[in-house]
Symmetry: C2
Subunit: 266 residues, 2 copies
């Protein structure tokens, strides 16, 4: 089934990126691979051979298929595009490196396309599970084992009914933790350790609300077209565009988003 908006070209390109990243990463999953520490202050910020190999593999695909496009990746930074190009790829080769290091199947490969400064196309791919969530802001799909299904967010409209996910309740700075906890206390349930899967599963209707803080553009931009294509809303805590990262809230419905932003932004 080819959906209304996602073109065959887009689907093929994303599949090629997914395959390239998966092939680079899986040989390093659940092995005793070396973990470097990229923060000079000694704080723990793991980056692995797998991260770098996957970003290089995706960059090679983009350079071959879309040679004029700019690229911003977590590991290798910014590559300029052709003069006048409006297209920029945003890559996070392994979102959830800590989960990856612990052998959990909760990390994902993120790849997104900005066009004219706006999120245009996005993918979350989990190579070990073998599934992808993709979207273009108008429609979103789940792909696994040759089958595809349309993604739709849940109809959850109030915090009291909401399944909330966040990567860790300790990732919020002092000024934000009180607001976060005020939301969590009113939710039906909260789940931790979710990284990019939380946003993908919000698009799939299994999670109703995701709240995080301190995200980079590559942590969230590729997920925006998936969430919006499935009917969800994703913005900063003050309701502005999420494309540059920051404090992020994603909700299944406009009503739930409104209720939460009211708490988070005051």
């Amino acid at each position: 089934m080819t959906p209304q908006y996602l073109s065959a070209n887009d689907l093929n390109l994303l599949a090629e990126l997914a395959d390239a990243a998966g092939a680079a990463i899986l040989p390093h999953f659940r092995t005793g691979m070396a973990i470097d520490n990229k923060r000079p202050d000694g704080a723990f910020d793991p980056v692995t051979i797998a991260d770098r190999a996957a970003e290089q593999a995706m960059r090679a695909v983009i350079t071959r298929k879309c040679p004029g496009d700019a690229i911003l990746g977590e590991e290798f930074g910014q590559t300029e595009g052709a003069v006048g190009s409006q297209r920029q790829w945003i890559l996070d080769p392994i979102d959830g490196t800590r989960g990856f290091i612990c052998g959990l199947p909760t990390w994902g490969v993120l790849a997104g396309l900005m066009q004219g400064g706006k999120p245009k196309l996005g993918m979350m791919h989990q190579p070990y599970v073998g599934e992808s969530f993709i979207g273009d802001g108008k429609s979103s799909l789940h792909l696994r084992a040759g089958k595809s299904g349309t993604l739709r967010t849940s109809s959850c409209k109030t915090l009291a009914d909401a399944r909330l996910a966040t990567t860790s309740p300790f990732l919020f700075p002092d000024i934000a933790i009180g607001r976060y906890r005020a939301v969590e206390a009113r939710c039906r349930m909260a789940r931790y350790g979710t990284d990019c899967y939380a946003y993908a599963l919000l698009a799939a209707g299994s999670i109703d609300l995701v709240i995080e803080h301190g995200l980079k553009a590559y942590d969230i931009m590729p997920l925006i077209p998936i969430i919006e294509g499935a009917g969800g809303v994703v913005t900063t805590w003050t309701g502005t565009s999420a494309a540059q990262g920051g404090a992020i809230v994603a909700a299944a419905t406009r009503a739930l988003h409104r209720e939460v932003v009211e708490i988070l932004s005051t």
Copy 2:
């Protein structure tokens, strides 16, 4: 490769339990299935059609293959065995129901065999990912897509090097939270939202330490033969048998376990 201690009979029986549970659960995964609330006080304790169907499916396998064995399951309680039988199966059809409800691939099917009051055989199976971790206390295996590999815990001997996992830092009662936090503060990293996967991945060498509180026998017993068969140590916080649940600590090595129990038990 058939390992030294796990018999073909054991492997076949566990595979049949895994298949039966998976077939019962997967049709309900990531669908808008009804979630009942089984706690009369209104606290959220979800139980789904999938939990019950999977336990019934596993009970049917055991009753057919090992008709004299006793069964203790999370959903349907205790079934007596034949007079004089020393064998009791411990079943948790979906460990990590909240993760299941959120569509995450982090829950697992647990099945364990007690013999003469001691853990004899255990399995953690993840039907969506399609992998199993099994053990008999002497050896442990990872099974996926027709391939098997021996499980070995990591060589981590000190807290400063340890990757810690726990389902939620808020599941510890007042008297225990201080001790837990003292351990977490000294670890290399902590990961939440792990449920039974944490113990399986400790056996696989990807996680070094798991600390939890308030576990039931069915939450932990099936994991004991997997952890011990991979070279790990799992006990209560005071160093006694983990088979009946309670406050649990699992560690990759004896040295790490000793260091942690010293903090947790004082």
